[in-house]
């Protein structure tokens, strides 16, 4: 006699189970299929092409009514199951009960709704089934703005589909980069760039506080109290197994319905399959393991021994034009190594993770053609030691001879394009070389090759080498560090010209060879980014040396020094009292008067820093930035206030300069001085900017030094008014910020660019001077604040994270 098999849920997993049963044992079961949706099985993973309009529902139906009829499956579609009585072995459908011999629960998953106010408003939809898809298509037909909450696989497919249908889409994502579970930061950056290129706005590290609107969703309120207007809100933050029926039936449920390797639940006659199950602590969301489960369940129902095992899965995003692939485990770990290939011009990024000579993970963006080959290597655990050198180039490169870049260049045909920017072919360059252009500069001048973006410089040099042989000496350019092939100057230029506004953008576009730089390049890149993009780029404390991160100077014993600012070297009894009290309270062993006219408290314990800052703040004292590659001090003499020789108010000008410039970050430290007369008591003639007051006004000198090198300032210009002195100084500092190499003091930078070049911009060209001042002020709108006040509020970060000595005592 046929057994009665009842299946709850007509999804992709249960569909595969039925296929298996009707193929292998068509007479074994009398099958009844319940589905809450009023339709049978369709290919859910193809909903995205339906949303974007590339396919229709009819294209993605897997089993139509005729198929179910032909195989004798009784369909109860549009009928939710209300209860399961596992004791009596009866399923309670909305339209009546049905007894079973074997039961399969395939209830799938439900979208996770974030519990914020407004989540139930009309106009808020999830993205899970055909009804959701149709609701989105209907909303998109009206046009307007859509906000998609969730930058994972589902959310991005929804966003791309809605954008394709003409909506203005913003994706709000809680984490730092898109699809963080499948992609590393670099691939996430490329994906973001691609999506932004389609007009989708991406907001990462954005937390949704509420959905607002009168009677229907009108906007999404973010954590910073910003409201993103929205006619449609799509929630796609994740899914959770739909386990309510199983739970009510008394089956074992953890996060999902617990099953054994035979897909059997805690009740021997009840099985479960698909996204609703949990096996060995694992949940399943991608289709490949679900099909494996379906096959095992089919065998179990037929009494054939089989066991489900968890395998690696690969992910692809179904957004036309965004090629990404991720498989296996690509987190770093002990003994794991990376192979990274970046081709910024083509937007390609590939990363392989290797452990014990085996490939265990792969992330690819831009070119995913070899994805399946890599995936196979991961699944098979193939020993890749032999092909390691060329592994990242894919199967096409295996077994070939090793590639020598010079012979590759030599083999290029004459019409091969070398310089993409200017469309210069190899033949043109070779002719130029034969015509006497024997170095890079001459090639640039005669052919324009490598004169624009410069990424082909290496190729041009190789051509010179191939053509001239030993007659050509490769120039020794000094890259920033081993992480890249570019000089500081190149990186600065490219950050500006290519509008690179994040570290990830720099690493990718400028072909960094390490994942996130090193202690040499990171602080430099961090400075370049914040100097060029003060509003767009957020300063990264973790890319700064300890002194700048901690806003205090580390001493050789690991303690710190604290130097409050004394504007122009002026202080008063209250400030001195506060400093003396702090010195007492925190047992400061050394109090020293510095050369920059202020007071240094040396030997403060790291953990005490926030407290001592808070105390000094209370007395009105702020950070003196004695630790910063930024404005240090403006040394002054007493000028006309007290001195019988003083010609101008040098103290007043010093204070005004310090108040204008403080807080700004510069390539290296900047020290100023203002002397009230040519007797120069403030020693202004060896400073980065030194002003000497005279009867007729102010003599501004720059590029002095009194450190490793000793150098007198050079006269930049003479000005008549105090305001002009401030303007010229500000413009000079900004020009230095925009152009100098990180860790070059102004005197080194001026020596490279020439004083005339500086004069032309700061003194002669008044429009440029104005632009420089405006750019400086824009940056200062962010950075002219007291970092101590901010850090004193985060005191916990300066304490140990945990104290295990106490734990041991307990």
């Amino acid at each position: 006699m046929k057994q009665k098999l009842v299946i709850v849920g007509a999804g992709m997993a249960s569909g595969r189970v039925i296929e298996h049963l009707v193929e292998n044992a068509p007479d074994a079961f009398d099958i009844t299929l319940f589905n809450a949706e009023p339709r049978g099985n369709y290919n859910r993973i193809m909903l995205s092409p339906v949303l974007s309009g590339e396919q229709t529902y009819d294209d993605i139906v897997t089993h139509d009514d005729a198929w179910y009829a032909a195989h004798g499956v009784t369909c109860r579609f549009g009928e939710p199951v209300i209860d399961i009585d596992a004791g009596a072995k009866v399923v309670e459908g909305q339209n009546g009960p049905l007894p079973y011999d074997k039961l399969v629960i395939a209830t799938g998953s439900a979208p996770f709704i974030i519990p914020v106010p407004g989540k139930d408003l009309p106009g808020v939809i999830t993205y899970r089934d055909l009804d959701d898809t149709n609701a989105m298509i209907e909303a998109a037909d009206k046009g307007g703005k859509a906000v998609v909450i969730g930058g994972g696989l589902l959310g991005l497919e929804a966003a791309a589909g809605l954008a394709e249908r003409g909506m203005q889409v913003t994706v709000v994502h809680l984490m730092g980069h898109l699809m963080e579970r499948q992609l590393d930061e670099a691939a996430g950056y490329l994906l973001r760039k691609d999506l932004e290129g389609r007009g989708i706005t991406i907001r990462t590290q954005a937390s949704t506080k509420a959905i607002v609107g009168e009677g229907r969703a009108e906007g999404v309120l973010l954590d910073g109290d910003e409201v993103l207007p929205a006619d449609l809100v799509v929630m796609a933050v994740g899914i959770r197994p739909e386990t309510r029926l199983a739970q009510n039936a008394g089956l074992d449920v953890a996060r999902g319905i617990t099953v054994n390797a035979q897909m059997q639940t805690s009740n021997p006659d009840v099985f479960a399959v698909g996204e609703c199950v949990e096996f060995n602590g694992t949940l399943f969301g991608l289709v490949a393991p679900l099909y494996d489960q379906a096959k095992v369940l089919g065998q179990s129902l037929l009494g054939t021994p089989d066991a489900f095992i968890v395998k690696d899965t690969a992910t692809k995003l179904k957004v036309t034009g965004c090629n990404l692939f991720s498989a296996g485990d690509f987190a770093d770990g002990e003994g794991r190594e990376d192979i990274v290939l970046r081709d910024p011009g083509k937007g390609i990024y590939k990363r392989l993770v290797i452990e014990d000579d085996r490939l265990i993970g792969a992330v690819m963006y831009g070119d995913t053609a070899d994805g399946n080959w890599f995936f196979q290597l991961i699944k098979d655990g193939t020993d890749i030691d032999e092909m390691r050198e060329t592994l990242i180039f894919g199967p096409a490169f295996q077994g070939g001879a090793s590639v020598d870049p010079l012979s590759a260049v030599a083999a290029l045909p004459r019409d091969a394009e070398i310089c993409g920017c200017n469309g210069i072919c190899k033949g043109t360059i070779v002719d130029a070389i034969d015509g006497g252009a024997t170095d890079l500069g001459a090639i640039k001048a005669t052919t324009k090759a490598s004169a624009s973006c410069g990424t082909c410089t290496g190729l041009v040099e190789q051509l010179l080498q191939v053509t001239l042989g030993d007659a050509f000496e490769m120039p020794t350019v000094q890259p920033i560090c081993g992480c890249c092939d570019l000089t500081h100057e190149d990186v600065r230029r490219l950050i500006k010209s290519q509008e690179l506004k994040s570290q990830e953008a720099v690493w990718q576009e400028l072909a960094w060879k390490t994942r996130n730089g090193c202690h040499v390049c990171r602080p430099a890149v961090n400075f370049y980014l914040l100097a060029d993009w003060p509003l767009e780029y957020l300063d990264d404390p973790q890319s700064r040396f300890v002194n700048e991160r901690k806003h205090a100077n580390i001493q050789k014993d690991g303690t710190f020094s604290v130097v409050p600012r004394m504007w122009g070297g002026i202080t008063n009894a209250d400030e001195l009292r506060a400093i003396a009290d702090a010195a007492d309270k925190y047992d400061v062993p050394t109090v020293k008067v510095t050369g920059g006219q202020r007071i240094d408290l040396l030997g403060v314990r790291g953990a005490d820093l926030p407290a001592i800052w808070a105390d000094l703040n209370k007395a009105g004292l702020v950070s003196g930035h004695a630790y910063a590659k930024g404005l240090r001090t403006v040394k002054t003499c007493v000028g006309t206030d007290h001195c019988r020789f003083g010609t101008q108010d040098s103290t007043g000008l010093g204070i005004k300069l310090e108040q204008t410039l403080w807080g700004s970050w510069t390539p290296h430290k900047v020290k100023l001085a203002v002397s009230g007369c040519p007797r120069n008591c403030a020693e202004a003639t060896c400073k980065d900017v030194g002003i000497i007051c005279v009867d007729s006004g102010y003599q501004i000198g720059v590029a002095g030094a009194a450190g490793m090198d000793l150098k007198e300032t050079e006269r930049l210009c003479d000005v008549a008014t105090e305001q002009e002195a401030i303007d010229v100084t500000t413009a000079f500092v900004q020009l230095y910020r925009e152009n100098a190499k990180y860790l070059d003091r102004p005197y080194k930078w001026v020596a490279k660019v020439g004083l005339d070049w500086v004069k032309a911009r700061v003194v002669e060209d008044l429009d440029e001077r104005r632009r420089l001042i405006e750019a400086f002020e824009l940056s200062q709108s962010i950075y002219r604040t007291d970092p101590w006040a901010e850090h004193a509020r985060q005191a916990a970060r300066y304490q140990p994270m945990a104290d295990l000595t106490l734990e041991a005592a307990e």
């Binding site: 987190a331 994942r515 890319s543």
Partner: protein, 109 residues
Amino acid sequence: MNWIDIGPIGDIPLRGARTIKTEAGCVAVFRTGTDEVFAATDRCPHKGGPLSEGIVHGQSITCPLHNWVFDLNTGQAQGEDAAITTFGVKIEDGRVLIDASQLAAKSAA
């Protein structure tokens, strides 16, 4: 193995470090750009610099005093015949756990 919970991963800045006090002295707990954690003595064998104040890059740490670079997997200093002691540490459900048995073994030694 005796895993002790020392706090949520979010308490350590990305590409940064925090310290914990132990019987064996200060231990630095590092978090890399891809959310892996490592733990090692918070003292550079060169001149005693606090490694927790250094720059974390890839799976390495650079000492803030004189730029010695250590591989956090092995503790080995790059190009120097010196190493720091590393400790077992892992993330579970967003919490950082450290192997206290190793810490105890060190303080007993």
